[in-house]
């Protein structure tokens, strides 16, 4: 014993249910032992240290924790991590390559689509899902498509512009 106090490992509590999960996060399989009550947002943030996924309201209202689950947007504070076992999750960290921003990220930069930035990761992933379904949206389509995401800074004006900017760029690139 090297000090006056040393904590010792007690027997693991057999009453605590533990599950092994493997989740494909941003293209890479990640495995962990988790309690089933762990929320996906906390697996990403605290477990995998992918803190780009933000937790705002924690009550399924604000959309800051939005990630793509098998390509569709979900609020990761309202899904159990254990439910993502065997599925694909994309977070904001998976948008850019080391050398290039995603057109949606570029749009937010060009059009000043953020101020404090807290809602931005969720906004960008909701926008990605929106543009995949509707590559040529109207302003109204964008406002409707982002209506599950709250922003307290911008009044949404520049966020909408940023998504429309990205839509133009992505259409031009796909020609």
């Amino acid at each position: 014993m090297s000090s006056l106090f040393e904590e010792v490992q007690t027997q693991p509590n057999a009453d605590i249910p533990v599950r092994r999960v493997t989740i494909n996060v941003n293209g890479e399989d990640r495995s962990a032992n988790i309690e089933p009550r762990l929320l996906l947002a906390d697996l990403l943030r605290q477990g995998l240290k992918l803190t780009g996924t933000h937790k705002g309201c924690d009550t399924t209202s604000c959309g800051a924790c939005t990630v793509l689950f098998d390509g569709r947007p979900i609020k990761s504070c309202t899904m159990l991590a254990v439910q993502a076992d065997g599925h694909e999750v994309q977070t904001v960290e998976g948008l850019a390559t080391p050398s290039e921003l995603h057109p949606i990220q570029e749009g937010f930069k060009q059009e000043h689509g953020l101020q404090c930035g807290f809602c931005t990761p969720g906004m960008m992933l909701a926008a990605k899902a929106l543009l995949e379904r509707n590559p040529n949206p109207t302003e109204d389509d964008v406002r409707w498509g982002l209506s599950g995401n709250l922003c307290r800074c911008t009044g949404y004006q520049n966020i909408v512009k940023a998504v429309l900017w990205a839509a133009d760029k992505m259409r031009a690139e796909s020609i």
Partner: protein, 289 residues
């Protein structure tokens, strides 16, 4: 916020799920879309010992129309599947109108129609829609399947008629006589808020003549308001302005709105009257002068 500790099971068949529910003797909850259950777990309004996740059960994800027009919606059909279904848009206008108004676009990717009906929230859009359409649920338990009419399904706020060992496996909307018409309108202060008032209208029509009329209200009472009796005033009649005004008054009188921060009871009743008129006028081939 964290749910209290629970055991988690993810069965691969309905039978396996029922066996788990049966063994838990009422201490288990079914997890489908989770968009109401997970928030309730986090707030610890719900603290089941076990969750039975039905998301990995195949065969529950169908939106199908029988040859006669009967519509089946499986237990895992998400709101957005109804929102984007071309077949629903063409054949079932009440559901097509309600789908884009459920919660917000991100919740709609995950939450399910049948789960929302089972949740029995007095503000729920789908319970009102199901009542107006005269739908029923097919539920399966250890002794096999049975059918529960929607009007008998909701027992009160957050209480339904399922036994602890039963699963609602699909919702069924009967085939329309004539042409299915209808609509759904909801007033909310912002996207995702609880409804100030909602009106579901389902009509079966032959030209401008009403063959069947169903209506239900959400947000204007302690439970979903069944206004089918009032709506039946229209049966056998044409959708004229006089008939529309009359039924709108009858249905508005059936509402039980309470004054709160979303508006006064008079205001909410007037919204119901206006919404009934708006939906019916849009269906009428005989436009108001």
């Amino acid at each position: 916020m964290y749910p209290s500790r629970f055991k988690y099971e993810s069965p691969k068949s309905v039978e396996e799920a029922i066996a788990l529910l049966d063994a838990a003797k009422g201490d288990a909850k079914i997890l489908a879309g989770g968009q109401s259950l997970v928030p309730m777990l986090k707030l610890r309004f719900a603290f089941p010992e076990q969750l039975v996740d039905i998301n990995n059960i195949p065969g529950l994800n169908h939106i199908t129309f029988d040859a006669d027009g009967t519509l089946h919606i499986g237990a895992l059909v998400r709101h957005e599947q109804l929102e984007f279904s071309k077949e629903i848009a063409a054949k079932q206008p009440t559901i097509a109108a309600a789908a884009p108004l459920v919660a917000d676009p991100i919740v709609r990717t995950r939450g399910t129609f049948v789960g929302s009906v089972c949740h029995a929230d007095p503000q729920g859009d789908w319970a009102a829609t199901m009542i107006a359409l005269g739908g029923h649920l097919v539920v399966q338990g250890p002794k096999g399947k049975r059918t529960i009419e929607m009007k008998d399904f909701v027992l009160g706020p957050y209480a339904n008629a399922l036994n602890y060992n039963e699963i609602a496996i699909e919702a069924v909307i009967p085939a329309p006589k004539g042409v299915a018409r209808g609509g759904y309108l909801k007033l909310e202060r912002r996207v995702g808020d609880f409804a100030t008032a909602s009106v579901a209208v389902a009509l079966d029509m032959d030209g401008n003549r009403v063959l069947r009329a169903g209506m239900a209200l959400a947000g204007v009472g302690g439970k979903t308001i069944d206004a089918n009796e009032e709506a039946s005033y229209l049966v056998g009649k044409d959708l004229t302005e006089a008939n529309i005004n009359q039924v709108a008054d009858l249905v508005a009188a059936k509402a039980e709105p309470k004054t709160d921060h979303r508006g006064s009871s008079e205001y909410k009743r007037q919204i119901v009257r206006t919404f009934v008129k708006r939906i019916l006028l849009a269906q009428s081939t005989q436009k108001a002068a």
